[in-house]
């Protein structure tokens, strides 16, 4: 038996309007939460990457700083060696100056030879006493051992050879 209705049938939706609204609202919220979370994760990843790069740069800079410090040290070494050499040059000059100042007026210096631990002087003295009084005492005060040899000249003066020694190996002067 057929049943007839006076109403025209309407399509019945699965979800009602308000239900749809709620579902869309919840879906959008979820999407926003996940987007925010993804954004944070991405930011965290970027920060981690930048931290890694900074660490690498810091390590390289540390190495470079170490190299620069080594270079600085080496410059100080060079400076020290140079200054040491110049001081020694000054000392050598001063030693020769002192030696020449040591020679008294009556004595004529002909030749002298300076080595690390030895000084040999050749000269002419009017008498042995002049040498022994004026030149020997300062030499004996400086050197540990002094040996002098005299040769008589035809005019009555003496040619002398004075050999002076220092035993110390540290002292590289006379």
């Amino acid at each position: 038996m057929r049943v007839y209705s006076f109403k025209i049938p309407k399509k019945k939706p699965i979800f009602k309007e308000d239900t749809k609204l709620w579902l869309i609202f919840i879906a959008i919220s979820l999407l926003l939460y996940i987007s925010f979370s993804l954004f944070l994760t991405f930011k965290a990843y970027i920060l981690k990457k930048e931290t890694k790069e900074l660490n690498k740069k810091a390590y390289e800079l540390k190495l470079k700083t170490m190299q620069l410090n080594e270079e600085k040290e080496f410059i100080y070494i060079q400076k020290s060696v140079f200054e040491n050499i110049m001081i020694k040059n000054d000392l050598t000059k001063q030693q020769i100056k002192n030696l020449l100042d040591l020679i008294p007026d009556p004595i004529t210096l002909e030749k002298f030879y300076i080595d690390k631990n030895k000084l040999t002087i050749y000269g002419i003295t009017p008498t042995k006493d002049v040498y022994n009084l004026l030149m020997l005492p300062p030499l004996e005060s400086i050197f540990e051992k002094t040996v002098t040899t005299f040769y008589k000249l035809p005019n009555g003066w003496y040619r002398f050879k004075s050999q002076n020694y220092i035993q110390s190996e540290e002292n590289e002067t006379y």
Partner: protein
């Protein structure tokens, strides 16, 4: 199933709005929000905060190291500037002709003889030269020793030194030592690298 079927949710409408359904949806929304915060957003924030703190700490450390590097570089450049003469003098190979020209202001050089070369204090090379020369007075020798301070090579006057008086001059025999850096090629490469 029977029990569920037995529970009848009352339907309350205010101005045509189903209050109970909306309340349930609101509760569902709150629960979803709380769960998302607890399991997705909070761990992300935690990781982000942790990474951010680490980043700032690393950046601070990096800036400190960079400042130190710049400071050291500045000091090094200053040091190089102050000691240009010394640094270049140690890098030069010895040229006998140049030395003769330099020494001619103080003495007349008769002969220069190169002797042995040896390593000095690990990084330097020392070469010995023997010189025969004539000077007018000891003052020439003193001036020569003083002028070495500003000379382009690093030279040390060393023993034995022999002074012998001639008719009008003094015959001088002395030993000089020339100092230079041991590994010039390595140094040049290092300079290029900076």
């Amino acid at each position: 199933m029977k029990l569920i079927k037995k529970i009848k949710i009352p339907r309350v409408y205010i101005y045509g709005i189903d209050v109970i359904k909306n309340f349930l949806f609101f509760t569902l929304y709150i629960i979803i929000t709380l769960i998302t915060i607890a399991f997705i957003i909070a761990p992300s924030i935690k990781t982000f905060k942790k990474n951010q703190a680490l980043y700032f700490e690393t950046k601070q450390n990096y800036l400190y190291i960079k400042t130190q590097y710049n400071q050291t570089l500045k000091e090094l450049n200053e040091l190089k500037k102050q000691n240009t003469h010394i640094l270049t003098a140690f890098r030069r190979e010895f040229d006998i002709q140049n030395f003769k020209k330099f020494a001619s202001s103080f003495m007349q050089i008769e002969k220069i003889k190169k002797d042995k070369t040896s390593v000095y204090k690990q990084n330097f090379i020392k070469t010995i030269y023997y010189i025969n020369a004539n000077i007018k007075s000891p003052q020439d020798f003193y001036n020569f020793a003083d002028a070495l301070k500003k000379y382009k090579y690093v030279i040390r006057v060393y023993f034995p030194i022999d002074f012998e008086k001639n008719k009008n001059s003094i015959e001088l025999k002395l030993k000089i030592e020339h100092y230079r850096l041991k590994n010039l090629n390595a140094l040049k490469a290092e300079e290029k690298a900076h």
